[in-house]
Each structure stands twice: as structure tokens, then as C-alpha cells.
């Protein structure tokens, strides 16, 4: 095991708070960080759970450290199991000198029991360069680098392992939380999604670094030496360079602040990973690629049954390894059994186990035993093939009942079939089809145009809905309906008036003009026929905001119509002469324009 891997194990174990049990209460003891510079402090936390009113621990003097209390924290949480009580005592330990120190062990008395809190090693470095300075350390160590290591050297093909990526950055640097990683995957190595592990601090080449760690599950897909060379980019947060513009200096760097983000690429030393081929020597014949450490169990239910009844074999494979690729071992049964394909049980197959089910049916009374079932796998820890055998399983067979279902099956056939007349086993040929499907063009349901046309359906429905809504609205609001009817009725009446002007007697013409006015303004202002008078219309037009000149023109039209209808004398029974017709043609045009202006009124 390399020193790097030793460090991983030490740090991972060291990060985890030491947990001690004492009389149904738990005591957690932790000191973080484990590496600091002179001038910095470390925090010691002692958490007692499940013991309300536990006394404060009294720490003895620690050589090389100044110990001060940093407070107490109490938590009470209500859970379905009851009330949980925890008390955390926090101390600040400030080193007085550089070096490596061992803090502890301590003894803590709780409820008459003495609990020993194990020792913790802390490394204190001399004060380094001032924080915020950028550049190489005095020893030439880089300020920012990353390493990639497998958690075990030279894994075997299909053996799951982890790729551990560590990002080291000097304390003077501020990094964004976001990190982008590319080119981690390579042909021959399957890499899964990674997770971030708790970070910490580490001393490398007598330089203190903050460390972020990531772990990626990986698996060698084939034997060989592969290069894993990921590229990593981080965001450095740097102070913004001050602008020399006197205007901006007046306002400072508001609103952008004094910091900026600088993307930085980090060279990760490529990892040469040698994936070993599984040894051919000693490979069992039934080996199907399982690599790891497994247990194997087989259950056969029921073992007392009748000929022709099914029984289920449940094969469970548990352990650590390439479980996703594990297949159930082949069961070699003779002609006495009918065998069905095994099925995986997804509900029972969790992360650390796979469960298969296989149904077999004894065909005759000679099938009294299921032979041993062997599962072979390669154990990378022992570097040997292992075969776990379960069975044989004895069966207590009863004859099939007379009225029970008979299993009528052909005998198993070899996978290579010599052409032979199979008799009537197959359903006979079918007659020629009445219609052939041409492959020259896509079928109608595969053409985009077909489905695009269906888009008209909702459009059509929307139009129908809009029409029905408008119809209902007009049915409810007669005033609005008449308002909308006004222009159409005026147009029709104007056409009739124009015709009457040319062909009819004057009285008919003036009646038509009156009809134009009565129809339009009656609909326009929702007036009953008897309510359409000159004064009423003038009042409504005035309220609607029509200019006075136009209102006067309306009045004149009304007046002329009334005069000619009721006071025209015998002359109105004759058609108008040509000068009058010409005059009234122009007047009709004026009336039409006037009505259009009235139509533009909002009220």
C-alpha cells in the first residue's frame, strides 16, 4: 500500500469523530483541523448524546496548547422513538509552538463509568507566507495542484474500485465551490458519478494545504494499461485590480465589489492504471465473470410436491463486487426436469445483493434430486477463483393426480439443430396477403405531415369555442348585439335609399333615408323605434363626444326627412328631378361618412 493510500486511510479514519459508547449514551470526540499553522486554533468538540445533564468534561492541561472554553450547545429533538438529548462542549486549542503533538487520551466520567477518549495527533507548522500573497512558497511547492489515485493498485478486470481525486490549495487562495472536471472517463475504464468526501487539511512538503476530495466508482472493462488524465478547472476568487479612472475611483468599485473570479486550469498528473486480466489458471468452467467477494445461497420451495408441479429455486448472491454483471449460475438438470429461464427479482436486488428466481418442473418420479448448484467468482483479495456449492436438494415426489394437469413437453433439444422434418409441430403456412406494404415510402402514420394535420383539431375547436362564446355573449347583451348590428343595417338601408333615389318617388326615398337614420341610431343607442327622435339622437351623440358640427348635420338630416315625409305635399309622390337627385347622391355620401364617424365613437 502506498504512502498516499496510508494517508487516505489515516485521514478518513481521523476525520470521523471518535465515538465511544457508555451505558446507553454515546460520546463523540473530535478535534478539527488536524493540521494548522502557528497562530491558528483548532476546535475540540465533545458531544454527549442520550445523557441529559451530563457534567462538563474537564480537560487537563495540554502541553504546547492554550485551552479556552468556546461554549456549550444543547439540542433536544423529538423523534417517533422518543426524546433525544445532546450536549456539546466546545474548546479552542491554540498552539504555542510548531511541531507534532498528541492531544489526549482523556478520561471522562459519566454516570459512574469512566470513558477513555482516545488521543488525536495534531501537526502545527511554522507561520507561512502572509495570507493573500500569490506566488510559489519559499520551498517551491505549488500553491494549487491535484492528484488522482486508485484506492487499490492494479485492479483486476471487472473489479470495482475507486478513483480518488484530491485538490490541494494553499491557505492563501480562495476557491469557488464550483469545480468542473472533464476527460475523466477513458476507453477501458468505466467511471461512475462521483461524490465529494469531507475535506480537511494536509501537510505536503512541509506546506499546509486545504484539501477537497472526490471519489468516483470505477471498474476496469478490459485488461491493459490505461491512462486517466482528467482536466480540472476551478475558480479563483481574487481581489479586483483597482481602476485608475478618477470617475470610478470616486464611487469605488460599487456595485461590483472588490473581488473577481478567475477560472484556472489545474494539471492533474495523469494516472497510469494497469488493469490485470483475470488469471486463466484455475478458472472454473462455470465462471461467468463475477469478480468480488460474495456469498451464495439457494432455497428450493417446495421440496414435497407432485410430478408436474412447479418448484422455485431462489438464488441469492450477496457481497461486494460487480453485482450488476452477475448472472445466475447455470443449473444442469437432466431430462427429468423442465427448466425455465431464471428471472431477476428487482425488488429484492438491492445494492449489495442480487436475487434470482428459477422455476423447474419435475417430469417424472425419477427426478428426485436437484444436483448441486455452483457459483464461481474471482476474489481479488485472495487472487483466486472460489466456487461456492449449494445442494444437492432432495425432492419428495408424489405421482401426478389422474385429473391433474399433465406436463406434455418435448424433450430438450440441442442448440444446434440438424434440419429434419418436424412434422406438424409448426402451424402451417399462411395464404398470400390481399394487400402488400411497400417499403418505398414511409407509411402514412410515419409521415410528419400526418401528425401536423392533426394540429388543426385543437385550432378548430378553439375557433368553435370563440364563436360560441361570442354568440352567447351577444345573446345575453342585446345592447351590444344591436350595437354590432348598426353598421350592417345602415349599409343595407343606404343601398335601399340609393335605389329609391334613382327609381322611386321622392317619398319612398325619404322614407329610406329615414330608415337609415332610424335603423342605425336605433341599434347604435339601443333605442326602441318610437324613441329614435332628433333630440334624443343629438343628445346621445353629444354625450358620446361627436363634434357639434356633425351633430348639427345629423339634425339637418332628421329635419329634412321629417319635412319631406310629413310635409312634402303632392310633389313627394313624384320622383326627384335630376338636380335634386344629384344633390341627394352627394348628401347620401355625406350621410355615409357621417355614420362612419359616429361608428368610431367609443360610447
Amino acid at each position: 500500500m502506498t504512502p498516499c493510500q496510508h494517508r487516505w486511510i489515516f485521514l478518513t479514519a481521523g476525520w470521523l469523530a471518535t465515538i465511544v459508547w457508555a451505558a446507553a449514551a454515546t460520546i463523540e470526540f473530535d478535534i478539527q483541523p488536524r493540521a494548522v499553522q502557528l497562530g491558528e486554533s483548532v476546535t475540540c468538540r465533545i458531544t454527549i448524546r442520550g445523557a441529559a445533564g451530563a457534567p462538563a468534561p474537564s480537560l487537563p492541561p495540554i502541553p504546547g496548547f492554550e485551552v479556552t472554553s468556546a461554549g456549550t450547545e444543547q439540542n433536544i429533538s423529538i423523534t417517533p422513538a422518543g426524546q433525544e438529548h445532546s450536549l456539546t462542549y466546545t474548546y479552542r486549542l491554540t498552539p504555542r509552538e510548531a511541531g507534532e503533538f498528541t492531544v489526549g487520551p482523556f478520561t471522562y466520567a459519566l454516570r459512574g463509568d469512566s470513558v477513555e477518549l482516545p488521543a488525536v495527533r495534531i501537526q502545527v507548522l511554522s507561520a507561512g507566507p502572509a495570507a493573500g500573497t500569490v506566488g510559489a512558497s519559499p520551498q517551491g511547492s505549488p500553491l494549487l495542484f491535484a492528484t488522482l489515485q486508485p484506492d487499490r493498485p492494479n485492479p483486476y478486470v471487472q473489479e470495482p474500485f475507486y478513483l480518488l481525486l484530491s485538490l490541494y490549495y494553499s491557505q492563501g487562495l480562495n476557491l469557488d465551490r464550483d469545480i468542473s472536471l472533464s476527460d475523466l472517463r477513458t476507453a477501458g475504464i468505466g467511471v461512475g458519478s462521483g461524490e465529494e468526501l469531507p475535506g480537511g487539511r494536509e501537510v505536503v512538503s512541509n506546506q499546509l494545504y486545504d484539501v477537497r476530495r472526490f471519489r468516483f466508482p470505477a471498474q476496469g472493462l478490459s485488461a491493459g494499461t490505461f491512462t486517466v488524465a482528467p482536466r480540472m478547472r476551478v475558480n479563483l476568487i481574487e481581489p479586483r485590480a483597482r481602476s485608475r479612472d478618477p470617475f470610478f475611483d470616486v464611487f469605488g468599485d460599487f456595485p461590483f465589489g472588490r473581488r473577481q473570479v478567475q477560472p484556472t486550469d489545474i494539471d492533474v498528473v495523469p494516472l497510469q492504471l494497469a488493469v490485470r486480466e483475470l488469471p486463466a489458471k484455475g478458472r472454473p468452467s462455470g465462471f461467468a465473470g463475477a469478480v468480488g467477494e460474495f456469498t451464495f445461497d439457494v432455497q428450493a420451495q417446495p421440496t414435497e410436491l407432485r410430478v408436474g408441479d412447479p418448484l422455485t429455486l431462489t438464488l441469492s448472491i450477496r457481497g461486494r463486487g460487480n453485482l450488476d454483471a452477475v448472472t445466475p449460475p447455470a443449473i444442469v438438470l437432466g431430462d427429468g426436469f423442465r427448466v425455465y429461464e431464471p428471472k431477476i427479482l428487482p425488488d429484492a436486488s438491492r445494492g449489495d445483493q442480487r436475487v434470482f428466481e428459477q422455476v423447474i418442473i419435475p417430469r417424472n418420479r425419477d427426478a428426485t434430486e436437484i444436483p448441486p448448484i455452483a457459483f464461481s467468482f474471482f476474489n481479488p483479495r485472495t487472487e483466486r477463483y472460489e466456487t461456492l456449492v449449494r445442494g444437492p436438494f432432495s425432492l419428495a415426489l408424489q405421482p401426478a393426480t389422474a385429473d391433474g394437469p399433465m406436463v406434455v413437453q418435448s424433450s430438450p433439444r440441442p442448440s444446434v439443430v440438424i434440419p429434419e422434418a418436424l412434422g406438424t409441430d409448426l402451424v402451417y403456412l399462411q395464404p398470400a396477403p390481399r394487400r402488400w406494404v411497400s417499403l418505398a415510402s414511409p407509411p402514412w402514420y410515419a409521415r410528419p405531415r400526418t401528425w401536423a394535420l392533426q394540429g388543426f383539431a385543437p385550432v378548430l375547436l378553439a375557433l368553435v369555442f370563440a364563436y360560441a362564446r361570442r354568440r352567447d355573449e351577444l345573446a345575453r347583451d342585446s345592447a351590444k348585439a344591436r350595437r354590432l348590428e348598426a353598421p350592417r343595417s345602415a349599409r343595407e338601408a343606404l343601398v335601399a335609399a340609393t335605389t329609391a333615389l334613382e327609381t322611386g318617388p321622392a317619398q319612398e326615398f325619404f322614407e329610406s333615408v329615414w330608415r337609415v337614420l332610424a335603423d342605425y341610431f336605433g341599434h347604435r343607442f339601443n333605442l326602441a323605434p318610437g324613441e329614435v327622435t332628433r333630440e334624443e339622437v343629438a343628445l346621445r351623440l353629444h354625450r358620446a363626444g361627436l363634434p357639434a358640427a356633425d351633430i348639427q348635420q345629423v339634425r339637418e338630416f332628421f329635419g329634412q326627412c321629417e319635412d319631406m315625409r310629413f310635409g312634402g305635399g303632392p310633389a313627394v309622390r313624384q320622383p326627384l328631378d335630376e338636380p335634386s337627385r344629384a344633390l341627394w347622391r352627394a348628401r347620401l355620401d355625406e350621410l355615409s361618412a357621417l355614420l362612419r364617424r359616429c361608428e368610431r365613437l367609443r360610447r
Binding site: 468505466g190 465473470g289 431477476i344 442448440s415 434440419p419 399462411q430 398470400a432 417499403l439
Partner: protein, 265 residues
């Protein structure tokens, strides 16, 4: 009556001409019959050549695939037979003859058959053309019922209830279309070669994984150069592209007759 006689005469002549002209696929039917005769006489290779010749013309029918598969069973080409039975079932999913013969052939080859959830099996009782027809008909029916219900002054509620039912039917038919489309995008692949073993990686020297007897049906997951990543029985593995053929993805249906189907997309 006599004045209609010329019209009747013209109709008879036209009808006779129409029936006299040989239908465009008469020759194809003739070859179909000859293939059946060859099959009955035990000349299975001749029967296969005739059926395959028709298929190479760029026309298909479930009966053609079925008969082709039967011939291939007789010739011992069991993987290809399973492939053609599945193609026949793609065009006519409820054909009991094709189902029975497929089961019989799989019984011989011990090939892996796919297992799908019950709702997928239910949806696959209809083919894509049938689901599409259902979807379009129920869609327009729904639109029509809603439009009538809206346009009528009284708006009877039973119309709305019926429209709701047809709308639900549209949704179901739409889901059926999507299920069928998924089988065209990620088609089933039938292993036609013998002694095939999938591998853990798309490399010839990668560790062998699961055995796939001829006639096994797997589902395409991914492609990489000349390799296919397939799923079967809860496991996945890589196989070379030349050991199997897809079961009629939709793209093949209009790409024209090819010796080897291409898998889309």
C-alpha cells in the same frame, strides 16, 4: 329501359376490362403459391429463395414474414426464423399462429425472450398503425363532440361525458403510439448467429459476459462504432453488430430493401 341499355353496355365493357387486366401483384401471388408448393414438397431452399425474392422487391406482409420464418425453421436457421416471426408480430401483433410458432422455435433454441411489464404487453397488442388510427379517430371525435356540445344552445351534459370518454381514449391511444415509437427508436434485436456471448466492453478482447443463444431477443441500449450495447434479463453487455438484426425499426420500413437493416436513430 332501352334507353339505359347503352349505359349498361358501357359499364359492362369497362368492368370487364378492369377485371381482365391482371392486378399488379398477380405475379407475386403466383410466386407465393409456388413457394408453398415447394415447401410442401420438401424443397425448403427453393421455397426460401422464392419468399426472399418477394421480400427483396421491397414489399412486406405479415404472411410473408411468417412463411419465411417457417421455411427457415425447416432449414435450421432458427435465429433468422425467430427474427421473422417477430417481424410478423410487429405487423400483426395478435396473430396466434406467429405466437405459437415463435414459442415453438424458442423452445428449441432456448433463446432469451424479453420480459416487459404488463402495461407494455397490453399496449403491444396493437401495432403502430392501429394505435395511430385510434388516436386520430378519437381525437377528431372528441373535437367534434366538444364542438357540437358547445354550439348547441342547450348543451346537453351527456355530450360532454362522451367527449371526456373519447378524450381519455385519445390519451390511451397516444400512449400506445409512444410505446410503439419507443420500440422503433430502441428496437429489439434478435441474435441470428450461434454461440454469441456479450462482453463487458465494446472490445473484442473484453471479458465475456452473458450467453445469448440464437433467437434471443435483446433490447438496444447504445451504439458504439460496430458494437451494440444490449439489455437482456436485467443485464447489459456489448455484442458485435453483425451477430443480430433489429426487428423492423420504423426507419427500415421506408429505407428500402437492404441486406442488413440499419438501426435508427
Amino acid at each position: 329501359m332501352t334507353r339505359y341499355l347503352p349505359i349498361l353496355l358501357v359499364c359492362c365493357i369497362v368492368g370487364a376490362l378492369v377485371h381482365a387486366a391482371p392486378p399488379p401483384h398477380a405475379d407475386r401471388e403466383q410466386r407465393f403459391v409456388e413457394a408453398r408448393i415447394a415447401f410442401d414438397e420438401g424443397r425448403f431452399q427453393d421455397a426460401f429463395d422464392l419468399y426472399e425474392g418477394i421480400r427483396q422487391e421491397g414489399v412486406v406482409a405479415p404472411q410473408l414474414y411468417f412463411n419465411l420464418a417457417n421455411t427457415q425453421v425447416r432449414l435450421g436457421q432458427l435465429g433468422q426464423a425467430v427474427l421473422n416471426y417477430r417481424r410478423a408480430l410487429t405487423l400483426r401483433p395478435r396473430d396466434p399462429d406467429a405466437r405459437a410458432n415463435l414459442r415453438f422455435t424458442l423452445d428449441i433454441t432456448r433463446g432469451i425472450a424479453p420480459e416487459y411489464p404488463a402495461f407494455i404487453r397490453l399496449f403491444r397488442q396493437l401495432n403502430l398503425a392501429e394505435w395511430s388510427t385510434c388516436a386520430i379517430v378519437t381525437l377528431w371525435l372528441t373535437i367534434g363532440l366538444l364542438a357540437v356540445q358547445r354550439l348547441r344552445v342547450r348543451r346537453p351534459s351527456w355530450l360532454l361525458q362522451v367527449a371526456t370518454a373519447t378524450a381519455l381514449a385519445t390519451l390511451v391511444a397516444g400512449a400506445g403510439c409512444l410505446v410503439e415509437w419507443s420500440f422503433h427508436r430502441r428496437p429489439e434485436i434478435v441474435i441470428t448467429a450461434r454461440d454469441v456471448q456479450s462482453r463487458f466492453a465494446p472490445l473484442a478482447e473484453a471479458t465475456p459476459h452473458m450467453k445469448l443463444p440464437a433467437g434471443s431477443t435483446v433490447r438496444l441500449v447504445e451504439r458504439s462504432a460496430d458494437w451494440w450495447k444490449v439489455a437482456a434479463g436485467g443485464n447489459t453487455g456489448w455484442i458485435p453488430a453483425n451477430v443480430g438484426e433489429p426487428v423492423l425499426p420504423l426507419r427500415e420500413m421506408w429505407s428500402g430493401p437492404t441486406g442488413h437493416a440499419t438501426v435508427g436513430p
